[in-house]
């Protein structure tokens, strides 16, 4: 059951979007987020939706996959919408009943906020859907490498991320195993009040922690045996190369930004 959990799910593929350098995709995602916050008109949102749709078409990501990813966010979206809907004051009221009132301005603002959240999350999902976690880690490391001059341990951070990603499936497997073992001894993990169930988790967490520490110990030893001695003097097998398509992607990103600013100026 725990095996179904996915973190930053990646759909392997061989489309132009998949082949883009991870640095390009990371930078463009940041760019896209900034663009989203400069949107000042409905035309701008339409442009963002069109851009998102274009990327989805090129990368063969189905809308269903995106919607499934958005499901856990339903609460936040509804909450944001309600907050904006009820607490925005305006001149014209659509609906008034005692102290509950909904203004046209509130409706517009709620719609814009929901759209913004949806577009923001969908955009970052497209990044993780089309870029393997390792490529993202790699791209981040290269992008942050100027920080090495400020003694930020960029390589160590990216290695930590890489190892965490590697051990997530192992820990999930182990949790499953410990759960089965505790259930076989009569542990009740599914019923009872919340505090009772939280207490029932202890026999699960303690063995998990102990074994994680043992794993970490063994892994550190194995890494040392393979000549690990920090990030200094390290080389990489896979070199990242910016290609023509990355330039094209940057141009398209720039065009999106320009379009949004233009529509904002025109007020469309």
């Amino acid at each position: 059951m725990l095996k179904d959990i996915t973190l930053g799910q990646y759909f392997p593929g061989d489309t132009p979007v998949h082949r883009l350098d991870p640095r390009t995709k990371l930078l463009l995602t940041v760019f896209y987020i900034i663009a989203l916050f400069t949107v000042g008109s409905w035309g701008g949102y339409a442009l963002c939706i069109a851009a998102l749709g274009a990327v989805m078409t090129v990368s063969h990501i189905r809308p269903g996959a995106l919607l499934r990813g958005l499901k856990p966010l339903v609460f936040i979206i509804v909450f944001t919408a309600a907050l904006n809907l009820f607490f925005t004051t305006g001149d014209d009221y659509l609906f008034r009943w005692r102290s509950i009132k909904i203004s046209y301005a509130g409706l517009e603002r709620a719609a814009a906020m929901v759209l913004r959240i949806l577009l923001l999350v969908s955009g970052t999902f497209l990044l993780t859907y089309t870029t393997s976690p390792l490529a993202i880690t790699d791209g981040l490391e290269r992008l942050l490498s100027p920080l090495k001059k400020l003694h930020v341990p960029v390589y160590e951070l990216s290695l930590m991320m890489c190892i965490a990603l590697r051990f997530i499936p192992l820990l999930i497997e182990e949790t499953d195993r410990i759960m089965s073992a505790q259930k076989a001894r009569g542990a009740d993990l599914e019923t009872g009040t919340l505090p009772e169930r939280a207490r029932a988790l202890m026999p699960l967490l303690i063995p998990l922690f102990v074994s994680s520490f043992r794993r970490a110990d063994e892994l550190a030893l194995a890494m040392e045996c393979r000549c690990y001695n920090g990030g200094e003097g390290r080389t990489r097998m896979k070199q990242l190369h910016m290609a023509g398509r990355d330039a094209v992607a940057f141009c398209l990103g720039g065009a999106l930004m320009a379009g949004i600013l233009l529509l904002r100026r025109l007020g469309i």
């Binding site: 890489c162 590697r166 192992l170 892994l219 194995a222 393979r226 000549c227 080389t235």
Partner: protein, 277 residues
């Protein structure tokens, strides 16, 4: 003999123990040989293995790898590069979540050129028969496959010596066969010195030399054909005897005169067939 490793009178105790884990061990390992180290739990065989690439340093005596003293801190990386180490649990020694990236870890640490790393990674994966799996995620592989990836990860350093500390203890019979044949082929075809720590007699029977350890000392040392017929001695050390040797010894006790050096099933069957003919 051209020794690649020389162990001279090494003694070692763990901090929380009053009995030494290694108690005056002296031996040489010939270059290109396949050595099996046997012993019951607590015999010091794992401690011995950890001395070979300077994970542990001797309290007294010294260990020389290609004439480099493991106690010298400056030579640490040179020693680790020469003596690769594979551990029991394959899951806890794989670093990356793609097979080929994991194999590249050691040469990347050593600062090898990218093109050369690629060559080594492909070569190492081919040597252990995992090249077709190079883009797989390790957690989707079987135990034997994972352990072969771990071996490839060490081979990418191009070591002189491969030390394996009970590499088959967590594997099913099929995985065990895969790993032992891989290791044997590395020794026979590539000339890599193999030191296999194990408690499986059938694995040890394939080695050139068997060292049996007991309470931190070398109890028996010789070819499998010399060591295994000493059944009483082995049983006294809480070890079993390979089934073939056991059969031959019992037949001999019943009045037959079979050669005790027939260790493989085929050799054993041939010896019995000859005696019956």
């Amino acid at each position: 003999m051209d020794p690649v490793i020389r162990v001279e009178n090494v003694t070692y105790s763990y901090p929380d123990s009053d009995r030494p884990a290694l108690d005056g061990v002296t031996l040489d390992v010939a270059r290109g040989s396949f050595v099996a180290v046997l012993g019951s739990n607590g015999s010091g065989k794992s401690t011995f293995a950890k001395h070979l690439n300077a994970i542990l340093l001797p309290a007294a005596g010294r260990v020389l790898v290609d004439e480099l003293d493991t106690a010298k801190e400056d030579d640490l990386l040179a020693i680790r590069r020469r003596v690769g180490m594979v551990f029991q649990n394959p899951d806890n020694q794989i670093v990356a979540n793609v097979v080929e990236d994991d194999v590249a870890f050691a040469p990347e640490n050593m600062g090898v050129e990218p093109a050369e790393i690629r060559r080594r990674v492909d070569g190492a994966l081919k040597q252990v028969g995992m090249y077709d799996f190079r883009l797989h995620a390790p957690h989707l592989l079987s135990g034997g496959q994972k352990q072969r990836v771990a071996i490839a990860g060490v081979l990418a350093m191009e070591p002189e010596v491969l030390v394996l500390d009970e590499p088959t203890a967590m594997l099913d019979p099929k995985g065990r066969r895969e790993v032992v044949s891989t290791v044997e082929a590395l020794c026979r075809d590539r000339g890599i010195t193999v030191i296999l720590i194990t408690h499986h007699m059938d694995e040890a029977a394939r080695a050139d030399r068997v060292i049996v350890m007991d309470r931190g000392r070398v109890a028996l040392d010789g070819t499998p054909a010399e060591v295994f017929p000493q059944a009483d001695r082995l049983r006294a050390l809480d070890l079993t005897v390979p089934e073939t040797t056991d059969l031959i010894l019992r037949l001999n006790a019943a009045g037959m005169a079979l050669p005790t050096g027939a260790l493989t099933v085929e050799a054993c069957a041939a010896a019995i067939g000859e005696a019956l003919a």
